[in-house]
């Protein structure tokens, strides 16, 4: 196999190259098949979830999991999911959206601002402050969650949306990414030229620098968006009023009721399954639309370090 592959690769080097990779290389069916098996593994649970969302709770138990049941109940399930308990699910989705958008925009802005400040200015205490922040990158968010809960319950911030948003605004890793990014993406000569023109530092930032920092900003935005969207531990301990639940904690509470699964909760299982599917769609859509950013930017830290 190696031998047959070597020749086309060898000849391809002779041709003028416009793209990064030699274009004339032969594709490998064997490799494609092997990777297909991997792809099936990664998509199979989502396939199951999609099928399951079209079933009644009865069909979930009585028909084979990997194919459709007797009734196609998707629309009925969606309606039931959204109308159950006075539209509780819609409220959870909106909460998640709100928490995720506010947190990610805030965290990315703070990190971009500070990353640029650390990368492009010299001032007293810079090294020490930067070292302090970067030294905390390894501190896991869940080890911080209970301490934050204890502090917030002291100042009556628990069981409010702020309990979710405020801790999510601080991203030492985001700062690290933006610091690395700002060191490379912003050229000194442009800053110098703008200063000679008499522009203030803030004006320079918003008119000149921000544009070149944008890809880094979007990367950190995506990171924190996913982290807040998927967050479970923090909201679980901070909130006890279901009105403030994000969709993760909401689905978890529904599934806990469904496990008991009798009487009035008999049809809840279909709602858990359908709600799970619906909760995944917005982020999947976001990743499809923003492919350029997560593919190039997700690993900025890995590459540069």
């Amino acid at each position: 196999m190696t031998a047959t592959l070597t020749t086309p690769a060898g000849t391809a080097t002779g041709t003028p190259r416009t793209r990064r990779r030699p274009a004339a290389r032969r594709r490998s069916n064997l490799l494609t098949l092997g990777m297909l098996a991997l792809l099936v593994y990664f998509l199979f649970p989502l396939f199951w979830l999609t099928i399951a969302a079209t079933k009644t709770t009865g069909d979930l138990f009585s028909t084979f999991g990997l194919w459709f049941g007797h009734d196609f109940a998707l629309l009925a399930n969606i309606r039931e999911t959204f109308t159950r308990n006075d539209g509780q699910y819609a409220r959870w989705m909106l909460n998640t959206l709100g928490y995720a958008v506010v947190s990610s925009v805030g965290a990315a802005s703070l990190a971009t601002f500070a990353g640029y400040g650390f990368a492009r200015y010299t001032f007293r205490g810079r090294g020490a402050l930067l070292g302090l922040v970067l030294g905390t990158i390894m501190v896991p968010t869940t080890a911080l969650a209970i301490p934050t809960y204890l502090l917030f319950s002291k100042v009556s911030l628990v069981n409010t949306p702020w309990a979710i948003i405020l801790p999510s605004l601080v991203s030492p890793f985001g700062l690290f990414l933006m610091w690395v990014y700002a060191r490379d993406a912003v050229s000194d000569s442009i800053l110098e030229a703008a200063r000679i023109d008499g522009a203030g530092e803030l004006a320079i930032f918003f008119r000149v620098t921000l544009r070149s920092l944008m890809p880094g900003f979007v990367t950190v935005l995506l990171f924190t968006l996913v982290a807040t969207w998927n967050n479970y531990f923090l909201p679980l301990i901070m909130l006890n009023d279901p009105r403030y639940y994000p969709v993760t904690v909401g689905l978890s509470s529904w599934s806990a009721q469904a496990v008991g699964g009798s009487g009035s909760n008999a049809d809840l299982l279909a709602c858990v399954v359908t709600g799970s599917l619906l909760s995944v769609l917005p982020l999947v859509a976001a990743f499809l639309l923003l492919q350029r950013y997560w593919q190039s930017g997700l690993s900025a830290g890995a590459v540069k370090e």
Binding site: T6, T32, L144, I146, P147, I237, S252
Partner: protein, 304 residues
Amino acid sequence: MSTSTATIAVAPPRRRSRTGNSGYLFIVPFLVFFLLFFLLPLAYAGYLSLFKDQLVGGTVFAGLDNYTRALGDEQLLGGVLRVALFFVLQVPVMLLISVVAALAIDSGLLRFVRVFRLGIFIPYAVPSVVATLMWGYLYGPDFGPLAQLGDRLGFSAPDLLSDTLMLPALGNVVTWEFAGYNMIILYAALRTVPTERYEAAAVDGAGPLRIAWNIKIPALRPALLLCLMFSIIGSFQLFAEPNLIQRLAPNVINSAYTPNVYAYSLAFTSQEVNYAAAVSFLLGLVIVAVSYVVLFLAGRGARR
């Protein structure tokens, strides 16, 4: 006099001093939030961890009692050992999948590269709660496809939620969630290798497998280290997956299954707030320490 000294003092380092103040302008917003919602909670928890509740006398200063208790707490130790075992079992498998997938996607030998890249990455967009619910149902005896297949074909499917298989079952969920994410990090690192190096190797007659082994895998080192760091942090703070599977297998996953599950039950079920603070604190410390030890060892390995 003041004017003359001012002009002299200001003239040479003018630009520097002017931009100097602006530097603070940019970093202060971040630092304020960092102080209030990162350092302050840690400090407060550290303070609380020095006290304990007593039946007689209420909350009293206890020095390091909570910490000595934690170090001798078999439940906590058991949890730490369990996540350490989880780390040793799960992370190599996951990173192997990630490396192979990244190499395959980068090889130029694959058809439909975009489909693979996106499809393998997609689980990262699925909340761990949803991922665990899904896999939990798939594992389950009621309507899991595996159990159903077993029923039809007349064999009894292994109980994936049993004591012996629980750790691999959890490992599978975590692998499913994060292999694609690590793949993207590794793939991006591969793309920074200058093509000239591949071309030179190809001229020398090296095939894709040799190129992968001799050039690409060494180039992955820093990115792999980053993935390893994320995995250490992820393994040791395992919570959502065991917390949700607990309902399906309450006899297998106890309230101290992982250190975080334990800290949660300490704080919210048994109301031992001060001790929970000490446990959180210790857990954070262990993770930071393990991370730096791994970084240090990897750095030494690189120099050798």
